[in-house]
């Protein structure tokens, strides 16, 4: 295989897994991973894009770490029991490094960025991306693509919920359903739409 072919294959695979994780395996719509964090950003009206970028970076870098460490963990007898602990260790290293870099950078909104990193690191969506990539037995471009796609999918789902949030909290909605309950219905309907868009059909 020439260098050009290798590069094309690598990035092509990465793109496919990015798209897969963003849409068909969307972290919120298909598994509700990171839903509480998503609702927290919307309620507090924080910048969705900034949070999404931080999450994408943490997920992608942790995915590379997970891919490199996985062969050594697989050799152990009880690997399924210790794997989550190993992944948490990898995320912890990425978390500390990101906090360190953010402290050093001359950022305007450093405090908010630090808060986002705190909130993002041990999020179900991040650990979920690593565990799913392992379950699907992906290769390196797969791990990286799945990590990027998870962050992008989270950002997309949060944005779609944000668009409707004011209406879902308005007085037009009965008090019992206002806010969180109707938001669950809204996410559920979007989840069904994406389930159908992929081509699934419900058994009769």
């Amino acid at each position: 295989m020439t260098f050009a072919e290798f590069t094309m294959t690598f990035f092509g695979k990465m793109l496919v897994y990015t798209l897969l994780a963003t849409f068909t395996e969307n972290t919120i719509f298909s598994r509700a991973l990171g839903s509480s964090t998503s609702l927290w950003i919307i309620r507090k009206r924080y910048q969705i894009l900034s949070f999404g970028i931080i999450m994408t970076v943490i997920t992608t870098v942790s995915s590379v770490g997970a891919y490199l460490v996985l062969p050594f963990v697989r050799e152990t007898q009880y690997y399924s029991y210790i794997l989550p602990l190993v992944y948490v260790g990898i995320i912890a290293v990425v978390y500390i490094v990101m906090l360190f870099i953010t402290h050093r950078l001359p950022l305007k909104n450093r405090d908010i960025m630090l808060m986002f990193i705190h909130r993002c690191a041990f999020n179900c969506a991040v650990l979920g991306a690593l565990l799913l990539a392992t379950e699907y037995e992906l290769d390196l471009p797969g791990f990286i693509g799945f990590g990027i796609g998870t962050g992008l999918g989270f950002t997309l789902a949060t944005y779609l919920t944000y668009i409707a949030y004011d209406r879902l909290n308005s007085k037009a909605v009965p008090k019992a359903f206002r806010g969180f309950p109707i938001t669950l219905f809204y996410i559920g309907i979007l989840s069904l739409a994406i389930y159908g868009m992929i081509g699934h059909e419900l058994p009769v």
Binding site: F29, S30, R31, A32, L33, G34, S35, S36, L39, Y78, S80, Y81, I82, L83, P84, L85, V88, G89, A92, Y95, I96, L99, H118, R119, A121, F122, N123, C124, V126, L127, G128, L131, L132, E135, S170, K171, A172, P174, K175, A176, F177, R178, G179, F180, P181, I182, L184, F185, I187, G188, I189, S191, L192, Y195, L202, P203
Partner: protein
Amino acid sequence: MFRRFYQKNKKQIDQFDGLLVNNTVLERGLVIAPVIAAANTLQNGLVLGMSFMLITFFAVVVASFVPKALPYAIRVILYVIVAGLLFIPVSYLMDLMFPGSVFKVGIFLPLLITNSLIVTKTETRFLKKKRLSMMLDVFSHVLGFFVVIVLVAALRELLGNGTLMEHEINIPLKIYGFMLPFGGFILLGFLAAGVQRFRLYLHGEPKARKGGDRS
């Protein structure tokens, strides 16, 4: 009657608010992923509910011994590592109690180690209380989660598959959608609305007028 009793004994009852009125899933919207995506059979619900109770309760209790002098980031990492260590015996125990169940719930069992009660609520709520009061509060929260996940799982298995613990139940209509994540979102939405209505009733909110302001 309920309202008067609640308002009279508010202080005592609020110690257990994690059970219903401040329920982790139905009021706060935390840890909803396992309820929506994996709790579609009663067995899955029991496995996830019991694992959550054991991992979260003991992780928060151990976390209360972590020195406050350590930086926040290190404390959080320690909480999650403790939860990760607890995951090992708990998943082994679940596999003994319900053979094959750990495989069925997939990634949702290991994901319990980074649940919001451990990662965020330990610092923002539980550790602000005295140890005994904290343990009571954590227990009411984890029990509240257990009740919700088991209820949702049983309803989804019954309505979606016509079975309960894999035993055939004779029901006239099966709605397969309940087995899928969107069914979980919608069922949880109804339950959350029920709890919200009950909370409004307890706090004595006036009834909403029909056709109110649409701003």
